[in-house]
Amino acid sequence: MSLTPKFLTLTAMSGGAGAGPRGPYMSFITDRNTNLLIRGGLLFSVGVFLALVLNLLQVQRNVTLFPPDVISSIFSSAWWVPPCCGTASAVIGLLYPCIDSRVGEPHRFKREWSSVMRCVAVFVGINHASAKVDFANNVQLSLTLAALSIGLWWTFDRSRRGFALGVAIALLATLTTQLLVYNEFFQYTSPDFLYIRSWLPCIFFAGVITMGNIGRQLALYEHKLLQKTHQD
């Protein structure tokens, strides 16, 4: 727009014509339910994918044994494992930002996609190590993995509530796995911690941290949008 005298006059005379209320043009994106659904779906698919891949890693090394007829299926694990993992990751991924917003500030530490990707890579690496590296004994393996998991939390999360939630969910998941194995849904080749492997809680913890990281990153978009609309 050219700055002509006419324009100057007009704007001067218009004086304090205030800004109108922001319209509903972003309502679709900022609609909480839709957003929640999208995020949940994304997290679910990520969980399913990771479960499939990591299970393959474990089955390949004969760490877990599923009933033989299921092994021959394409996904090399029981049908219920990926959906369970997916649901769990969706819940975790939604829970983390939710708790963040309840407690106070959203999580600000290293909020970038590259960092999230790094976190996922480290998580896969921990799984890899648990399946492929030959340790002298199980205690060593479990301790190493625990250290790695804590390192993961420290590198990518560093929030106290993240740690607490991770530990709580890991314990819960461990208990569930114990029950599942006890009821012979599946079994481990060489259980050393009641019915399961002792490194399982560490893996669960690392998984919770990872999924929480992804969930927070996804929630960041919603947060940004909401902030924008509120500012307006």
């Binding site: 050219s2 005298p5 218009s14 014509a17 090399s76 970038e112």
Partner: protein
Amino acid sequence: MTLREQLRAKISAAFYHHGLLCASYPVPIILFTSASILTCCYPLLKLPLPGTGPVEFTTGVRDYSVPSHEPHGDQGERPDWYRGPPVAYIQQVLVKAAVSPWDSSLVPVDVFRSPLGQVFRLLEEIRNHVYSDSSGVRSLESLCLQVTDLFPGLRRMQTVLPEHGCLLVSPGNYWQNQRELFDSDPDLFKTIQKHEPKGLHTSATLRDLLFGVPGKYSGVSHYNKKRVVTYTITVVLLSYDARFLNSLRARLKQLHPSANCSLREDHMVHVHFKEEIGIAELIPLVTTYIILFAYIYFSTRKIDMVRSKWGLALAAVVTVLSSLLMSVGLCTLFGLTPTLNGGEIFPYLVVVIGLENVLVLTKSVVSTPVDLEVKLRIAQGLSNESWSIMKNMATELCIILIGYFTLVPAIQEFCLFAVVGLVSDFFLQMFFFTTVLSIDIRRMELADLNRRLPAEASLPQPKPVPLRTREAPPPPRPSPHTITLQTPAFRNLRLPKRLRVVYFLARTRLAQRIIMAGTVIWIGILVYTDPAGIRAYLAAQVSEQSPLGDPGVSGLSPHLAVAPVFAAGDPTSALNIHPAPDPTPVPENQSQGHHSSVPQITWGAEDEEGWRRLSFRHWPSLFSYYNITLAKRYISILPVIPVSVHLSPQEAIETRHPHDTRHRPPLIPKVSADLQTDLTLYKVAALGLAAGVLLVLLLFCLYRVLCPRNYGQNGAAHGRRRRGDLPCDDYGYSPPVSEISPLLLRGHSMDIECLASDGMLLASCCLAGQIRVWDAQTGDCLTVIPKQCRDPSIGGENLSEEDYFPLRRRASPSRLALFTDQPDLTPLIDTNFTSQPPSHLSTPPKEGFDYGSLVERAYTEHEPPSPSSYPCASSASSSPSSAAQPQRRLSVGDGGGASSQERGSGSGSQAAADWESSVWAMELRGNLIAAGRSSGKLEVGLWDAVEGSLRCRNEDGVSGITALAFLNNRIVAARLNGSLDFFTSCARPAAGAPGQGSMPPSPCYTSEDVISCQLTRSVQCAHQKPITVLRAAAGRVVTGSQDHTVRVYRLEDSCCLFTLQGHSGGITAIYIDQTMVLASGGQDGAICLWDVLTGSRVSHVYGHRGDVTSLVCTTSCVISSGLDDLICIWDRSTGIKLYSIQQDMGCGASLGVISESLLVTGGQGCVSFWDLNFGDLLQTVYLGQSSDSQVVRQLLVLDNAAIVCDFGSELSLVYVPSVLEKLD
């Protein structure tokens, strides 16, 4: 000062100096870094190539003992897999048989029938061989590898492969080891071929397995020129008994002595096979790599504000990768051979090392002030981030050290690699990446600053304060000198998903690339697995095992040759260097005089390890048939037992099958054995060629489908650097730039404010108040209307015709744009001396020729903000009007027009007051120009080819006219005080003929007509606040005002039909056309669509941050632009935003619709054409040579598909390029 701070300061200073160093000597440092990378990677050459190729180890036969499981003390040259007993020992009996002397009565089948028949006797001999000594009796049965069932799924091989017994394979297996079957077989060749797999195969075939030599060396074919048949009997032994084997060897040699055989028999080769990677193992690996690439992508995406994003991203990746290679190389150099699977740990190493430091460095450097020197910028950026870099590195080293103390070998090794990798990564970051960054920054300094600075500087004053409040906060500027660079892709488009996918494919050429990569990989696999391919050749070269000076053999012999590490100790090389083929291999009882074909059995070095010619999957596949895996295990291959069999022609004829002679294949004398292989070679070549052609065609088709446009037009170097970033759409597509030179209409001395056109004519008005009329077709300046110019000359001098020339000459676009910062003084040059009688010089109150004051005034007018009027200084410019005026005045006589004109040109003081008011609105219809002034005067001027005369004037109003509409013969003027005046212009023929009632529909007046302009109605309180916009179409007048309302009036009776309420801000833009579409946009950024018939609101959308500056509707969409320099395209029926286009700064309002699907927008020195349906940028036209300075602020689309845009003080007339016309 604490220790920490001291440390910090020291680190910072060190980094600062380092940055200075890097930026000062970029080339030597890069050379040094490259050299050190290469040096560190040099040890990698010694490592075995990654892959599943087997590894060999050679020991002597004489003192052989089964290696123990426990590692020995003297592990020196022994590989670590050489422990424990092997899976099996392979003993091959290499049989070479020939019918000699060759008789012309023999048929080709005789070449191999009787020699093959010998296998049964040999088998019998081997099976029944018994060695007895003091320790007992040993037979083959007790020593051999007993196999059970074949692997399920290989049932079809049951007839040819042994089951439940010794694993003993020979060509006799084709006939179940029974001589009777062999003798009764009418067509041996067919039996052999029967089991061959169809199609292309790369691994071991059954024929290779049974014959033990590659098919083409076996000599079993009809075209065997040498007439020697070669095959092996392969005995697989479970345990090694030297004495038994020696006796077997002696026995066979005794039976079938090989006269000229000098094969060495004192070496056994142990072959270790690696694990073959299955698909299940690949999936996690691929996943980790995908995550790795996502990580790299998300990381490098953050590199911004640099000259070449891709270059820096590449540098970052190179940094990380070469640091990894360096770490592996260094570790190998110091004796740590990697045992981990490199491919598996590689992604984790990259993740551990990370790209973070690189990004932090880039960010820190680009955020330093731009006006600094490059050296200093680099140094500052480095030292700013030095502390955090060092801290991160220390933390990572600590974590890795902790990992090292887990004492798990695998983790320790990983940590060792990671530590070395981290250190070398740090080294590379500091030397390589920093230097690359400095080069990049320097390039940006040179190129971008020159380009961007004037652009920024030439921007007008900041927008007024009230607008600022509604705007988004300006982007933060770190320092007053820092230039915020635009992001390269400044066109945000929102497209349908389908199109996005297609564009994505097209942009990245994904399909082509995948196909190409697939082809390359396929070819690579073929070459790699080809038994006699380049791999074997290369391996032979590397391992130096090939006989010197005999490339023919070197290309064939070693197959399992990925063993450069252990090759040094291979004593066979000694043999191969001095190959010992017997110079005179004369079989016994040979009649030399027979016609040249004497089959000669020769034993060469290549026979010694004939298994090398086989595929490296030969043994694994043989064992896998019995479900025995050789992965991570080894087999020991014993030296071959050579057996030569000479058969007489009588024997050959006796063993003939009657079938053989009947179906005697045509013997082609010149057809050689090579020809067959040649034929297959040709076939393969032809197939490959055909496949290649097909591939090219396919690629071409894909290219045509995915990239329909001609990308090639956009030459790579075409003006890219000169123009800077071309406007491109979101997908990086930069359309062809056409450098058509637009018609520049020069003449205005100040910025152009109003533009009006009716297709044929074009009127423009500058801030100085000068109105110029141009021919829209040719761009000629037809007339100049400096206000009041006729007043002084009304007294009247009659001018001669020659006087028109000065005007013509000056009106043509001749002014050079050299001194744009100086006022244009050309109007002051008076060349029309004849019209200036000297007496005028002495008449002060009128227009004097005080040149000094004129110049002074011109200078004061050049000050942009003061809207002072242009002086009517040039009598030359007024002379045409003064030429016509006297006649008209004479002819007009009395009348309304005359009276009004009389009033207008009344006194000098009034005229002087007029100069002070500027033109705020202008309309052009036919040859009438209506101009509304800030003083409230309405002027209607008539223009024709020679005159620019004022025909009537109305100065009833006191408030400035902000908007004008000129429809048919009515003029509507909206005023600053909110009132609306309706005028009717009437023309009367000069002769007084009855023309009052018969108003021509198109107001085209002749100069004789008398124009009167009567105020028919004035709506005093049309709006509460100033009327900002006024549009008239389809018999309606629509006004928009600061009072948030839109009113619709009927044009005929000026009756207010509707008051439309719905905006929450002042109205800033209105669009109405003949189809009664009404759209309005306000300061709230809202756009409303109305139904003009009912006055109801159809839709209401918010799209802009700040005012809506202009609105255009087409039948399907609404195009709006706002103060945020964003052009939004909305679907008209649904009100959904289709996409938006980001404009250059200050060009927000410049847009126009040429046709239903063609949008034109103005930019910085250019206009761009867009496809409305898809949001494609079609073409960009640069308006001037100096592209960077001016911004197109107004744009007008003429009827003849020409575009007029203002370009500072100039007008540009652009004819729509012919490419676009085709689209319409």
